[in-house]
Amino acid sequence: MLVVRDLRKTYGTTIALAGVDVDAAPGEVVALLGPNGAGKTTLVSIIAGLRRADSGSVTVGDVDALAHPQRARELLGLAPQDLGIYPIVSVVQNLRLFGEIAGLRRRELDQRITDVAAALSLDGLLGRLAGTLSGGEKRRLHTAIALLHRPRLLLLDEATTGADVATRGDLLGVVRRLADDGAAVVYSTHYMEEVASLRARVTILDHGTVIAKGPLDQLLAAHASAFVEMVFDGPVPAVLLGDGVTVEGSTVRLPTADPGHSAAAALATIGADASRLRALEIVEPNLESVYVTLTGRRYSENAPEDADVMAS
């Protein structure tokens, strides 16, 4: 349903996308992971025809989306990163506008509004002014607008950012069901735990490049290992440095197959430097450790642009 090949985009001298390949088949959720500035929003915006690519290709269905963005837009639904609703009209009027634009008419539109409102717990709020909704309710309406017309390709850019637990659960459930019904979903997120609940295939972006992609279990098997992370007040004790050890400022990460034993051994080794130890964390194999293995950095929303040191 979606095929992106060698997509490139720069803003001035900043490289946003440096040759990205992404695929999303019908029935599949592709989770785009990556810190701020990784290129997720630029990628989603280009697919949706909101920004122009410098080069590469984007195919939505059988439509060349770069040459015919309007035709591609008829096949997709987008929930942008920033909330986009009309606050001074009602919830149902928000939904009705975008339903009519998508070509839904009369009974079909009414039925879709009923369905999407029920799925996202908006059914008791249809007559309310959108601007009077709570933050979570606005986020549900924002997403409901994107999937009202049951697009063949759904683009969700950080759809659950700022959402409460209940809203997040509702949104993830609806997205998974839409995929089960045959839609392809591209789901940009910072939340690694959402990937498993969506049963998504993962694409990890870093500095505009795809650094890993595939099913979650394959990525974990290929790249994930447990590690012990220690944060010091001041420099990392030299005694901890060794093969595969990553140092980032005052933080050291020790890859290990036996994290408990390694943590105890590290504490015994640092001696008096233990007084400068401010935090110790054992990170089990997961997407976080995949990211650390591939980039040398912890994944966070405000991840630094570059790792300081890759110790050897």
């Binding site: 837009r73 986009g84 975008f98």
Partner: protein, 257 residues
């Protein structure tokens, strides 16, 4: 372009307009108040210029209608800027609506509002202020439509070159004030200094007032408004062309408040 999609956006725009009718009330009732205040002044002025039988309504009613229609140029711009403020601009752009659908959906309500405003003020001017069309009513209607087109296109030009809603507000207000004053909507051009009389024809309000005068004081027929209507349509085309060249759908606009 799909008329159904455009119609959906048009309906939505009218719905938003009606949610906050303060603007509509301002452009309808303020001109009536101003007309009541200014009419005696215009009657004296027209008499002093040797226009016999003038009531002052011939200047006051169309003058205030045009001047306040010019104030409305910013309103069409806000229809675009508020989409950015609400985060819905990208949603519209990513929808099945074409650029033409969006433009039509935004501009038809702005054009209609100005048209309804002018028509209502002229119609109310008859019973309230004794406004009379001695010449062609069709000519009067032609001038109203032409000046509304010119002002809507000017509003779009201001929107296209503004990056923030503050710029839109400032440029729109400046333009409409200049149009109202220099174009003779507030003060008849004949009473203005020579330099102002020289530049007055550059404004759409000048040509609108000239057209209105033709069918009121001069009792002219449809042919008497041909030149004003053609010039106004030319201005509409010029402003429209500038707007089309300058407006960028992908550009981010900043909306304050």
């Amino acid at each position: 372009m799909s008329w159904r999609v455009s119609a959906a956006i048009i309906r939505h725009e009218f719905r938003i307009m009606l949610k906050d009718p303060s603007t509509i009330l301002f452009i309808l009732f303020m001109p009536l108040v101003m007309t009541a205040l200014m009419k005696p002044l215009y009657q004296s002025a027209l008499s002093a210029r040797g226009v016999s039988g003038a009531t002052g309504a011939e200047q006051a009613v169309p003058g205030m209608a045009v001047a306040f229609a010019a104030f409305g140029v910013g309103f069409s711009g806000f229809a675009f800027f508020r989409e950015h403020g609400w985060g819905t601009w990208e949603r519209l752009r990513a929808s099945a609506a074409t650029s033409a659908d969006i433009m039509t959906g935004k501009l038809v309500p702005a054009f209609s509002l100005t048209l309804i405003q002018m028509a209502a003020l002229l119609a109310l001017g008859v019973p309230l202020f004794g406004f009379a069309v001695a010449g062609s009513v069709l000519g009067l209607a032609a001038v109203v439509v032409a000046v509304t087109l010119a002002l809507t296109a000017f509003g779009m030009t201001v929107t296209a070159i503004s990056r923030t809603s503050q710029q839109l507000n400032a440029l729109g207000s400046l333009g409409s004030m200049l149009f109202g004053i220099i174009g003779g909507a507030f003060v008849p051009v004949a009473f203005m200094p020579a330099w102002a009389r020289a530049i007055a024809p550059a404004t759409p309000t000048y040509w609108a007032m000239r057209g209105f005068r033709s069918v009121t004081l001069d009792a002219g027929g449809l042919g008497s408004v041909a030149l004003p209507v053609v010039v106004l349509l030319g201005m509409a085309a010029l402003f429209g062309a500038i707007a089309a060249m300058k407006f960028r759908f992908e550009e981010t606009r900043i909306y304050f408040g």
